[in-house]
């Protein structure tokens, strides 16, 4: 049995399913209980599971994550929401110094099985404090897992897997595609999820394993590596330009499915990496290094990176900043030569 869902509904459903199965799962965060979350991801859950299991916190990100780490060490499975990824920095100390290292420094006696959910990315005119993509800060920290779904089906399966995982997981939700896939055509009305194949979400329990990428489209000409919103944008540009691209949705950045990437680049000999985050030190740099290490003799042309600019996210000129069809198209042209 399955039904059509938006990303938000799928995330809500994943939370519902895990809460129903495991009394150790608790949800906490700013406005997640009574209000149901600013993006409605936790709507109805307090009513169903009560105020002890789904509760509002003060605006105290450092405290929220710190408390969640302690809860996790004592056997609970907290799922704190940080309302926007841009608000996560006060909690960074707790994530980096405590959550990521508790297992290591207690020789495996204590764990921090929390899943920090947080909407991230731009495309909604949020400006510099409501649009950021800080994933590379977390992939850089040993001891954290970083997951970014791109559609309702994966969002539910990955979130259930993340909550069940015994390590701390940063679960970034691309807020631009909460209510519909986005191909970068910002001047056209939002397309609803129910027209998209990946909005078909199984009822009840299932997981999408962490560390397994998905080949969205098979192709021979070029390998496209993307995650979150940019999977849809890059895919659409390849279709528009008639490029026979192999589009890979990474789904989890750490652990990374290097096997799928390697197999694809060996086949195509070309690799384009797309992300919305700033370029310097972005996750694309890590991907580029890995592809070079694993596939150097298969590469026919230099790897292309299409990313956000090395600037804060502007309020105005959002679509000039966003690595959309123009920049992806130009990179595809460069990489397809010869």
């Amino acid at each position: 049995m399955s039904r059509r869902m938006t990303m938000i509904e799928a995330i809500n459903d994943a939370l519902d399913v895990t809460m129903g199965r495991d009394p150790a799962v608790v949800i906490m965060g700013e406005d997640v209980g009574y209000f149901g979350g600013v993006f409605r991801a936790t709507a109805g859950l307090q009513k169903k599971y009560g105020k002890t299991r789904v509760f509002d916190t003060p605006i105290s990100e450092c405290g929220i994550i710190g408390v969640a780490v302690g809860m996790g060490a004592y056997g609970l499975r907290p799922v704190p929401e940080i309302q926007f990824a841009d608000y996560i920095y006060p909690g960074l100390d707790q994530l980096v110094s405590e959550a990521a290292r508790l297992r290591y420094r207690s020789a495996g006696e204590f764990i921090a099985p929390l899943t920090v959910r947080s909407p991230f990315g731009g495309g909604i005119f949020g400006g510099q404090t409501h649009s950021q993509s800080p994933e590379a800060l977390f992939t850089h920290v040993a001891g954290l897992k970083t997951v970014i779904p791109s559609n309702p089906h994966d969002a539910k399966g990955l979130l259930i897997a993340a909550i069940e995982d015994n390590d701390p997981v940063i679960f970034f939700e691309p807020k631009r595609i909460y209510n519909g896939p986005f191909t970068g055509a910002y001047d056209r009305p939002v397309e609803p999820w129910n027209k998209h194949a990946d909005s078909e979400v199984p009822e009840g329990y299932y997981t999408v394993p962490l560390g397994k990428a998905r080949v969205v489209r098979e192709g021979e000409a070029v390998t496209v590596l993307a995650y979150g919103t940019m999977v849809h944008v890059a895919h659409a540009v390849c279709l528009d330009k008639g490029v026979d691209a192999e589009v890979i949705d990474l789904r989890t950045l750490v652990p990374l499915d290097i096997e799928t990437i390697r197999a694809s680049v060996r086949k195509t000999g070309r690799c384009m990496i797309v992300h919305e985050a700033t370029r310097t030190g972005g996750f694309g740099a890590e991907l580029s290094a890995l592809v070079q290490e694993h596939c150097f003799y298969d590469l026919e042309v230099p790897i292309e990176r299409v990313t956000g600019f090395d600037t804060p996210y502007p309020h105005s000129l959002e679509w000039a900043y966003f690595p959309g069809a123009v920049r992806i198209g130009e990179a595809l042209d460069r990489i397809s030569k010869d």
Binding site: F125, G127, H130, H315, L317
Partner: protein, 380 residues
């Protein structure tokens, strides 16, 4: 208190703390070990609260009250217009309106010395800018993301600045501006310019850890800063009592020996008088004050908030019985100020706001090259 208490910029050094006061107030370990901590008898925790209770309302002249009225009406009409432009799609993203809270910014900042004392606030910042005399045109143009906006369109509603007016933003991260405020106050003291910093934050931000780190430092170093909690009852959708163990925010400085003052933020004259009391204390080199301004926002937290967490009756009750603009208007009429004089102000403000909106709609977007300016000093 005399009306002339408002300090002027002409000779800022006259009200400056003792030279090298900052260096002297950095704790000297040997002194701390040998001298006992100031005891509770001399700790004037409630002294300001009592001073304000004894003399609640500012004795404004008609001209002053008219000016307060005008500033509050400007903020309200500006915000209503911003709401309309948002509805038309001319303003995108996040937009937090100040409607209902006007008496706070106007009452407090009228007691400051604009361009001399610094002001810093969170994301609900339009009102504080207007109260500090910043041109509505460049604020509105920032909201619409135009090149003529005060941050050239790149900041947007939540991120605006004016060094000329000593308005230091406009900050989108809840509570983050409070520490910056202490830094501004430190610089005022260090430079001996006699200025104070007014640092605003909300009841929600009052639960951020860094606020308390800042309280401690500000009190320890006796920084010239007025901390202002604008308690509008709701941290987004979370009512104060559901998110705060101590809902009397003015008490939250007690652990740091910072005197607190609860203030009715819906009466501009009460607010102004409280500011007089607070500023006299702070300008006297006594360190920070924590003011809690009890107020109310009529609109949702942001434009996308349907505000279902409170009843329509609650909002209506505040509008009907406690509206700061209506209150000031009634007071003006009672004093014998003519209805025509008030109408003239209303008309003038409508024109001013209409002009700001026209300007904000007709100005071009920033040049594409602006994407890469002001990231670092160098271009790259």
């Amino acid at each position: 208190m005399a009306k002339s208490a408002r300090p002027r910029a002409a000779n800022p050094r006259s009200s400056a703390p003792k030279p090298a006061a900052v260096a002297a107030s950095v704790p000297d370990v040997s002194a701390a070990l040998s001298s006992p901590v100031e005891d509770d008898a001399t700790f004037a925790l409630r002294s300001l609260q009592q001073a304000h209770a004894n003399n609640k309302r500012y004795d404004a002249s008609d001209a002053e009250l008219l000016k307060f009225y005008e500033q509050m009406v400007l903020i309200r009409r500006f915000e209503e217009k911003a709401g309309q432009l948002y509805g038309l799609g001319l303003i995108g993203g996040f937009c937090h309106l100040y409607i209902g809270q006007e008496a706070v910014a106007v009452g407090l900042q009228s007691a400051l010395n604009e361009g001399h004392d610094s002001v810093i606030t969170g994301y609900r910042d339009h009102g504080h800018m207007l109260a500090y005399g910043i041109d509505p045109k460049v604020i509105m143009a920032e909201l619409t993301g135009r090149g003529a906006g005060i941050s050239r369109g790149k900041g947007g509603s939540m991120h605006m600045f004016s060094t000329e007016h000593k308005f230091y933003g406009g900050h989108g991260i809840v509570g983050a501006q409070v520490s910056l405020g202490a830094g501004l106050a430190f610089a005022h003291k260090y430079r001996e310019d006699g200025g104070v910093c007014m640092a605003y934050f909300g009841d929600g931000a009052a639960n951020q850890g860094q606020v308390y780190e800042t309280f401690n430092m500000a009190a320890l170093w006796k920084l010239p800063i007025v901390f202002v909690v604008e308690n509008n009852g709701y941290a987004m959708g979370t009512a104060v009592k559901r998110g705060s163990a101590e809902t009397h925010f003015y008490r939250r400085g007690t652990a740091f020996r910072i005197p607190g003052m609860p203030v009715n933020g819906m009466d501009v004259l009460e607010v102004r008088q409280a500011a007089e009391v607070a500023l006299e204390y702070v300008r006297g080199g006594n360190g920070p004050v924590l003011m809690e301004l009890n107020t109310y926002r009529y609109r949702g937290h942001s434009m996308s908030d349907p505000a279902k967490y409170r009843s329509r009756e609650e909002v209506q009750e505040m509008r009907d019985k406690h509206d700061p603009i209506e209150g000031a208007k009634q007071e003006l009429l009672k004093r014998g100020v003519s209805e025509d004089a008030i109408k003239d102000i209303d008309k003038k403000i409508r024109q001013q706001v209409a002009q700001a909106a026209d300007f904000a709609e007709s100005s071009p977007e920033p040049d594409m090259a602006e994407l890469y300016t002001d990231v670092l000093v160098e271009t790259y």
